[in-house]
């Protein structure tokens, strides 16, 4: 039968962090990769930081990151970190950091300890790696803060933030609304609109002048995370120089400008490496015997069939559309239509409280996999050429653990490694930059040391 079609070595379905990262890892090894996704990916909704493990099961902030990851792996043998081991987590973090650095989007931090940063309501959150533009917000520093917002921007409220934050900080937190004449005619400003404005030197000049005259004793200045999109680095350097103090960004409601920056770096890198990225299409997978054979893409010009030797299922779980929960209580994986295990009683999917201490039970559902992250259907053996990542995996909850990006990178790296083994045989490739050890603590020192060794084809 003759069909419109295309062949890749690997097709990655999903354009969130795990999909784009897995595709990048593969493309850099010379694998012909296609990324196809229905939506723009969850990076648009995140903080733009890399959370590895932020909270313990009791909801307390994680202080000793390596020990807490080890403890989690020991306690929860089905957690994605237990499947990947710390090696893939460290490799994933390291390669991510290197890719971002090459694109002038530096990330600070390492796998030894968490950073504590302010949130947009003046609470704090802990994270492992943060964009350089957020580093000066560290709660560990003691210099007084000035929090600056923009009148007319509905997604950031400096007085509310400062009132909460100063209750928990050892330093003063003051706040300031800027009323920029150039924003006055712009109704309904979104973070992305502001970021584009901040790409413009004239706007930065105006902002710097107003901030400078209100600095008082502040030693650092916090802004909503809108300091430039395309010219982010210039924007931060220029504003810092003009104001004369360190600046920091605070993530706020979506769309997430820091997340979009990561998304852009990864997508551009993929294109440079010869990968194909297609966004906006629904796909349906088909099996060929006990392997996945092809996916059918619903595009404007009709259905196109993509064949591949291996597939990465990075479709984002129940939140991202990778797992569909239905009114009748059934759960289905959305690409291959496989049933997903879970309670058929809808009322057992959630707790009575929204803000309770534990994850909503539905968040813990996922697609069953074996230890190699290969898809495991309800009956029969594993599907050898389908690898499942991130939120599609069961037994973890990124929101309550504060582990979304860490699991995304660890599972992306593990999946990419397994796929390379499958395609090329388990031969030595480019040398790993982190030693093969089983504990985050003992290996962690190598993350910083190995910085910058990521391959670039």
């Amino acid at each position: 039968m003759k069909r419109r079609g295309r062949h890749f070595e690997v097709v990655v379905i999903g354009a969130g962090l795990s999909g784009l990262a897995a595709a990048s890892f593969l493309a850099e090894e010379g694998v012909r990769v296609g990324v196809i996704a229905k939506g723009g990916g969850f990076l648009h909704f995140t903080s733009g930081c890399v959370d590895v493990l932020g909270r313990t099961t009791g909801g307390k902030p994680v202080s000793d990151l390596p020990a807490s990851v080890d403890e989690l792996i020991a306690r929860a043998p089905f957690h994605p970190y237990a499947l990947t081991g710390t090696h893939h987590l460290l490799e994933g973090l390291h390669r991510f950091q290197a890719m971002m650095t090459e694109a002038d989007l530096d990330f600070v931090g390492d796998a030894q300890a968490n950073l504590t940063l302010p949130t947009a309501i003046g609470s704090t959150r802990v994270t492992c790696l943060a964009p350089d533009s957020m580093a000066a917000g560290s709660m560990r520093e003691t210099s007084p803060m000035l929090i600056v917002g923009f009148r007319g921007f509905r997604d950031f409220y400096p007085p509310y933030l400062a009132a909460n934050l100063s209750r928990r900080s050892s330093f003063p937190v003051r706040q300031l609304y800027l009323d920029l004449p150039s924003f006055r005619q712009r109704h309904h400003l979104l973070s992305v609109d502001l970021a584009r404005e901040l790409d413009d030197p004239a706007t930065r000049k105006e902002i710097a002048r107003l901030v400078k005259s209100n600095l008082g004793d502040a030693g650092r200045v916090g802004f909503p995370a809108v300091l430039g999109l395309e010219r982010h680095r210039d924007s931060v350097l220029d504003l810092t120089e003009r104001i004369g103090h360190p600046l920091f960004e605070i993530p706020t409601l979506p769309p997430s400008v820091p997340g979009m920056r990561i998304n852009r770096v990864l997508r551009r890198r993929l294109l440079r490496n010869g990968a194909r990225v297609e966004i906006g299409f629904r796909v349906q997978g088909r099996f060929d015997g006990d392997r996945a054979g092809e996916i059918v893409v619903d595009s404007a010009g009709g259905a196109t069939t993509y064949t591949a030797d291996a597939f990465v299922l990075a479709t984002g779980g129940t939140g991202g559309g990778g797992i569909i929960a239905r009114q009748d209580g059934s759960l289905h994986e959305s690409v291959f239509g496989l049933p997903v295990q879970g309670s058929a009683d809808r009322s057992s999917w959630y707790h009575q409280r929204f803000l309770g201490p534990d994850p909503q039970p539905i968040s813990l559902t996922g697609v069953a996999v074996n230890a190699r992250l290969q898809l495991l259907p309800a009956s029969g053996g594993a599907v050898e050429n389908v690898f499942v990542t991130a939120s599609n995996l069961p037994h973890w909850d990124p929101v309550h653990e504060g582990s979304g990006e860490g699991v995304a990178l660890a599972t992306a790296h593990k999946a990419a490694t397994e796929i390379l083994d499958l395609l090329r045989g388990p031969l030595p490739r480019s040398a790993p930059s982190v030693t093969e050890r089983d504990s985050l603590g003992t290996a962690a020192g190598h993350v910083s040391a190995g910085r910058g060794t990521g391959t670039r084809s």
Partner: protein, 525 residues
């Protein structure tokens, strides 16, 4: 001690109506409500201003009351009513003989009814099932309960009445077979207060039995739970009813930017403690399919339930829909030997004004005075020009002002920053629920995902409350929204709530916001 002539208990439509009625007749009147106004049954109804068609066959007295009040409310409360018109449609699942009985019964009750062709029905409402066999137009409408209650209270205040929200009645003092003092507690401050009065009107609806107990008069109310589902879209522009004996999931009401399907009918022991069962949701969506094919696959935003204040004559034990929706005024002097209290029981929102009129008539009789009722003649504040509510009124108002400098706080319901500021100031409230009931904040598709944070930020800018109180308002609002979301949590709603969780739990860290000290050693850098 605060002194008044009349104390009305209950801040739903009936209580607010009684407050206004008594105030207009010259009584110094005070209304006490344990929570915010319209948080009991009135605020949890489907939004349907009945023509009476729904009761025409089975309950002609209710039907006649409905059509008379429908006409009056169109005149006095136009701004709270969207004049959508209504349809009764016979689906292939309905008894074909019922339609003719329906027409006859409507005519007997004085309800204008006109049959239209199926083609005309589909022209008006293209989403309706093309297999429907007959369609009748009646003067049903969509009514905003909070605006109606607020209008009654504002009108009463203009005549010297007053209404206190968040004031729970905790007891009565009786002397010589009369109530002399009503005791109340401010549920926000905890402050207790005694109110000296001449007469008490119990308009506590499904909670009237509890008030009766405090006053020492036995009063058996039945709480008839009715559940409803809010659909993501305004699926229909007119009220649509199945043309059959009332059942589950057979009413579809356009309300603002959404549509509501209702209802169910299950008696519950406690009007304050009930859950929405998954089976109720499934049954309503299944029945809804018969009106609008594909409805069950559309996105449901949330479910909610109210309790009907059913009053069967004591001793009778009729269930749910078999209890008359007519109302009764009980004079506790003749009934229980308590000289100066009446209870208004049963009924429905459409007939709230008539219930209030009969109640205050009884009060006048009891006090031996003759003062006529004026509530049917004088329009409510805001409704003087007789212009009905229209879904585009917010846009029109902004256009009339030549644009709005203010940012949108809630995109779903088109609520601007200045509106939030205005309501918060007028009502001196920092409860986001109070603001929601005035502005529909958080009642659209995202169910508060984005606007909760924004509204909290705006409130804080405005009031400079201690941050703990703003945090509490934010968390409380999220939990209140959650209650209605979880019964319909599948498909896109589930995805939405996971995004909301990411925002509030992960990105904003609301669960940690009141920890005032960082745990030692978290950040070892």
């Amino acid at each position: 001690m605060y002194q008044t002539e009349v104390v009305v208990i209950g801040g739903g439509a009936t209580g607010a109506g009684a407050l206004r009625d008594a105030a207009l007749r010259g009584f110094k009147t005070l209304l006490l409500e344990r929570s915010d106004f319209g948080t009991g049954t009135s605020g949890r109804y489907h939004g349907l201003l009945h023509s009476g068609g729904r009761y025409a066959v089975k309950d002609p007295l209710s039907a006649r009351e409905c059509i008379a009040e429908n006409i009056i409310l169109h005149r006095i409360a136009a701004a709270t009513i969207e004049d959508t018109g209504g349809l009764f449609v016979a689906t292939p699942d309905d008894d074909p003989a019922y339609a003719d009985r329906f027409v006859t019964a409507c005519r007997d009750s004085g309800i204008p009814v006109t049959e239209i062709s199926i083609a005309e029905m589909l022209r008006r409402e293209p989403r309706l099932n093309p297999a429907i066999t007959r369609a009748f137009v009646v003067p049903d409408a969509s009514c905003e309960p909070w605006a109606l209650i607020e209008g009654n209270i504002r009108s009463a205040r203009a005549y010297g009445g007053d209404a206190w929200p968040y004031h729970q009645v905790t007891g009565f003092e009786r002397q010589n077979g009369r109530i002399t003092v009503v005791r109340t507690r401010d549920t926000r401050s905890g402050e207790e207060q005694s109110i000296a009065c001449d007469f008490v009107v119990n308009a506590a609806g499904a909670w009237a039995g509890q008030i009766g107990e405090l006053a020492g008069v036995p009063l058996t109310m039945t709480a008839g739970k009715g559940s409803m589902i809010v659909m993501n879209h305004r699926i229909v522009n007119s009220v649509v009813n199945r043309c059959h004996l009332p059942g589950d999931g057979d009413i579809l009401v356009p309300v603002g930017s959404v549509a509501i399907i209702g209802t169910t009918s299950i008696n519950v022991p406690d009007p304050d403690a009930f859950e929405i069962e998954p089976a109720e949701i499934d049954s309503m969506l299944r029945e809804g399919e018969k009106l609008v094919p594909g409805l069950a696959k559309m996105r449901s935003l949330r479910a909610y339930a109210g309790v009907r204040p059913l009053y069967g004559n004591e001793g009778a034990s009729a269930e749910g829909r078999d209890v008359s929706r007519a109302f009764a005024v009980l004079d506790h002097r003749s009934r229980d030997g308590l000289g100066n209290m009446i209870s208004i029981v049963g009924g429905k929102l459409t007939t709230y004004r008539l219930m209030a009129e009969h109640g205050v008539d009884a009060l006048c009789r009891s006090l031996g005075v003759d003062r006529p009722c004026h509530t049917a003649d004088e329009p409510l504040p805001g409704s003087e020009n007789g212009v009905h509510y229209s879904i585009t009124h917010r846009l029109a108002a902004i256009e009339a002002r030549g644009g709005d400098e203010n940012s949108l706080v809630c995109e779903c319901e088109y609520v601007t920053r200045s509106q939030v500021e205005q309501v918060a100031a007028e009502r001196s409230t920092h409860d986001l629920g109070d603001i929601r009931r005035e502005l529909r904040l958080g009642m659209g598709p995202c169910q508060g995902g984005f606007c909760t944070y924004r509204a909290a930020g705006v409130l804080h800018d405005l009031n400079h409350l201690p941050p703990r109180e703003t945090n509490e308002a934010l968390c409380h609002f999220l939990e209140e929204r959650w209650k209605g979301i979880k019964p319909v949590l599948w498909g896109d709603d589930l995805r939405q709530i996971q995004l909301d969780e990411e925002i509030y739990v992960n990105l904003l860290g609301v669960q940690q916001v009141d920890d005032t000290v960082e745990p030692a050693g978290v950040d070892r850098r």
